[in-house]
Symmetry: C2
Subunit: 481 residues, 2 copies
Amino acid sequence: MTVDFSGPVPELALDVDRSADVPLGRQVQDTLRSAIRSGRVRSGERLPSSRQLADQLGVSRGLVVSAYEQLLAEGYVVTTVGSGTRVADSVTAAVTSTPSDAVEVDSARLGPVPHIDFGYGVPDLRAFCTRDWLWALGDAIRTMRTADLGDGAVEGDPQLRAVLAGYHRRVRAGSVDAAHTIVVAGFRQGLTFVLSALAGHGIEWIGLEDPGPGDHDQIARRAGLRVSAVPVDADGIRVDRLRATGARAVLLTPAHQCPTGAVLSPARRHELVQWAHEVDGVIVEDDYDVEFRYDRQPVGSLQGLAPERVVALGSVSKTLAPALRIGWVFAPPRFRADILTEKRLSCRGVPHLDQAALARLIQTGRFDRHLRKVRVSYRQRRDTLVSAVAESIAGATITGLDAGHHALLRLPPGVDEEHAVAHARAAGVAVRGVSDYRVTPDDGAPRDPFPPALVIGFGNVTIRQIREGIGVLGRLAAARR
Amino acid sequence: MTVDFSGPVPELALDVDRSADVPLGRQVQDTLRSAIRSGRVRSGERLPSSRQLADQLGVSRGLVVSAYEQLLAEGYVVTTVGSGTRVADSVTAAVTSTPSDAVEVDSARLGPVPHIDFGYGVPDLRAFCTRDWLWALGDAIRTMRTADLGDGAVEGDPQLRAVLAGYHRRVRAGSVDAAHTIVVAGFRQGLTFVLSALAGHGIEWIGLEDPGPGDHDQIARRAGLRVSAVPVDADGIRVDRLRATGARAVLLTPAHQCPTGAVLSPARRHELVQWAHEVDGVIVEDDYDVEFRYDRQPVGSLQGLAPERVVALGSVSKTLAPALRIGWVFAPPRFRADILTEKRLSCRGVPHLDQAALARLIQTGRFDRHLRKVRVSYRQRRDTLVSAVAESIAGATITGLDAGHHALLRLPPGVDEEHAVAHARAAGVAVRGVSDYRVTPDDGAPRDPFPPALVIGFGNVTIRQIREGIGVLGRLAAARR
């Protein structure tokens, strides 16, 4: 990729040696030629103006002009009116060029880019509140104190922390103060910090939902924990099985289990809190997908039930956009110092302007307005999904539709999950099988079987894409049987 | 801190039970009263409108209005025209309130806030290019693809990576491609990833400059490495002493040593690269403070000298503002996969909008324009510092002034470093002693002594503050002798 620097181009670091025998003019030519030949400036990229380079090297402008004329004659550079001197297209850099970078390599390995993507966890990116976000950034930058451009408090912007805590108390029936709220760069970073803090507090084993969110087993091991797999059913995590593992910590998605979509039942919630009290345990609550509910009353955060036993984490990745990279941790006081140490030593902080913008977005009601807007379209997509499955895939069932923007499609008998995923991809439909969400435990215990199923994310697909994509899956299933 | 939600306030999660014997109206009253008493909604915070709450609970509006009237009569809420119903000031939440959060606690522990802060590493925050940054954000958000609001490539925005690599080749005489450029959330995060990758490649010991940047010994240990302390002198790190440690990796600040300000001499640069080849070693280059040079020709990046042996890291924390949290890693191909795994599992990415904005800022020349502007004021501050020290502190010397915005002030004989720091703070001048920058090694080897000195950051202080602050230090030194 040619980098087309415009305006005053960045300085080109070159050197001349006044004590050398070689004349300065020759030195300028040589150093420029070698910068081009070595690939430091590449085909199509602009060279500094003769005035700029002369100033930088402390030589006369005429001397630089002569050097450029020589390089022009040699074919290294071309000159265009109004666009200065550029490295000629024909120049082949001595260094090995790697024009196609790894992004392209990776996508090539994964086959053709699908035109319908049922990827898990992606909200409606087209609906992102661009205007409101820019407004919030502008308002933040105009009203922030100068000192807020510095390193800032490790725990995050005080105003955002107060807003997040207040919001969690109101909307999630939580019980938390700004003092115990820590801003992080998304859920995953918060999880890394929290699990490291648990390991530092003597926790050795953690139970993970199986199936559950991808990579969490790896993240737990990196934090120094060992992993047990705990099965889930239609009521969420099996607390009896958690108890049997002997683990003193658990990580779960109670509001809308990932990937099954089950909502943790009231009985299980009480059983879980009871378990935590009995084993002196810690519940790590991935409090996501709570903003989009369809068929049921709000389910409060577990954190509100047992604030001293629950660490709750949230983010804006599934409500606004993953690219924002803002999340939060509500932690009991005893874990706070360790989480902050993790944060301080591993990354220092989250961009302050983004934090200030999010505080404003929430506080002025723009965040809720956005949620109300997208909730309507998620409900439509969900209803479309239900009817499309009923019409197109005989023998399939779809569950986990009470909240959020993903659901679990159980395949008809006789249809192989891996086969369905591969053939769907070949037909331009990206979807993942539930086997991608299985946990790799450290205790060697056999995992419960889980029936073949596909995880269908419907947050970032249109009504039409849902019908078309489910149609493709239906034809594959019919052909297979 | 009261959170003053404006606009349509966020939903207040409340529940009624239609199967219970208690009348619905009473239930609404009870659940509201308990939300207030438990501190979920606090004094001064707004309650939902009666219409909003009635919709949410699926009850008649009149029923909610009656409940609000009852709470008004009981003194729980107050009503103001045009501002809705708020929780009364007199209500004391049942939960223990922690109004003064930890930020305030921490600053209280550190004593009075100084009015002159010679803190290390902070650029001129008042000079931050607010308008250009907002322009870049706006341009980015208008031109980004919708998909860029998703998770994005782990290595970072392709355009920013190309711009950073191109800039490093031009300005730092580096030798790097976009393919080997990884965007990170600031230097510290990049360092964490790089050191973990080194540990994964069988590196066990790393040499750190002593004195050197704070916390790096802790960060190295957390990444699984053991630390040797390597002394620095006026030519930078002592490569002979590095060699003696037996370490196969080194982390250093060659362009402007932190905190002494020494520039790594040409002889040492060659010796260092030689060492790396001999021991199959890795040089981790903290390539900072290169943008501000005063007395000497540009010093190229070590990365350009030995691309296969050097991992170079940079950030905008000392050129634009620490609050932006954007940095980069240029890594030899063999470390790339491990660094990306670290990034993927520990945080996923850097806010995409900020990445796209930085690419635009650099590519359009606005970044360089900013550098030219602040370079002038840093030079003035530097000159002021030199003359203020000469005038005000008899027997002191100041070194490390060839680049950057910090320098080392060696205290006159007889003046104790710790005493000077404490008394300066009491007089409103924040400054740190060089002993704060000493490394704690793991090899038990005795560290070389280092003479008493203060680290003077002059990036974020005015000319007047420099004169005044150095005057304070001079009076303290004179009184002490």
